[in-house]
Subunit: 155 residues, 3 copies
């Protein structure tokens, strides 16, 4: 992994969605010192919901994994904005918080959120390794399958 | 918005509840450097629960919005304590975490948590704009409709 | 409380579990400056699940309290790793995030998460007092009863 983050994105064929605009009086991210708090990102691509439904009911773990990956792509897109377009400024992914729309008997939240976790390491290498939680939620905004927020350290 | 935060509260007719006392071995807030972590605040006013129940079942989105606003008032009340009574020391609202007591088919968590988000901007202006997540929970402490925690930057 | 943290652990007869190894591309903790973010810890002891099930259904509040205590022991075990084995470097427990596997009518999440909160003060004294949230989740990884994550300040 000697390339820059942007070249790695290109080599891996990873495209980022457009960063969503602020929806109300909350905004996609705040910067406090060298810490970036990114709002919970859902599995939408440029405004279209990619995966709606509930794990253990009508969404498979594999589809949930892909949904979590889309959440992760949105997180990275927001962090790029926070860095003025320069992802080289990301020092590390500090923490992800993963919420999985879950039926009462679904217990594979970690396998779902791995979709976001694996992406971070693909894109940022060792700097992408992060702390996280992965829990169930009975319902999520607009019926999405997955929501993930994040805390990043930047320079 | 040239007035101070306290005069803005007065102009807007916003009254803050008394900050709740620590309930056990956890406390309402901790201060780490210039970061204040505020415990999850529920929709109580000086000890009385203002809104009990579940969105999508027996609580309307509008009542949920008001409940989230009350959570936000409690957050501000705790931050004022953390600042030794001086809300001018708040640099920005960094992040809110919103949990909405939700039936399985309720998907308007963002509209509910806007009650807290809108309040932050009313009170702090641009410094009140924050990152956040808004998710469902199957049940919350004492049956409240909404719980919101917060991270604030102070000087 | 004049003893060191380690001697306090010994005096109280508190044994820590082995810190779990990273499971995937997420890791048990990250360190950003003087802040340690610890991943959500579940109620396992050296790999064995200590308490599976749902509060308000098949797990009592007392058993949930003990499960939360086990989560807390795992948090401390991870923080010890983050401190290179020296718990004296813990300045304070900043925040715990408590998720309780909850039936829809279970509302004693605070009483459950007190198991982790009480432990922090037993072990760290006043430095163990922390901000927190305690919320319900409809399901958790591997069917565990409780998951708790944490943010710690170290020197």
């Amino acid at each position: 992994m000697t390339g820059t983050v942007e070249s790695r994105l290109k080599d891996l064929g990873i495209e980022l969605p457009k960063p969503s605009a602020p929806a109300a009086n909350y905004i996609p991210y705040t910067v406090v010192g060298s810490t970036v708090f990114v709002s919970g990102q859902v599995c939408v691509w440029n405004g279209d919901i990619m995966c709606r439904g509930r794990l253990g009911e009508d969404v498979s773990t594999e589809d949930g994994y892909q949904a979590a990956r889309v959440c992760g792509l949105n997180l990275i897109s927001q962090v790029r904005e926070a860095c003025g377009g320069d992802l080289e400024r990301v020092v590390r992914v500090a923490k992800l918080g993963g919420f999985v729309n879950s039926a009462a008997d679904f217990t594979d939240q970690p396998e779902v959120i791995n979709g976001a976790s694996d992406l971070m390491v693909e894109v940022f290498g060792d700097a992408g390794k992060h702390a996280r939680f992965a829990v169930g939620a009975p319902s999520l905004p607009r019926g999405v399958a997955v929501e993930v927020d994040g805390i990043f350290e930047i320079r």
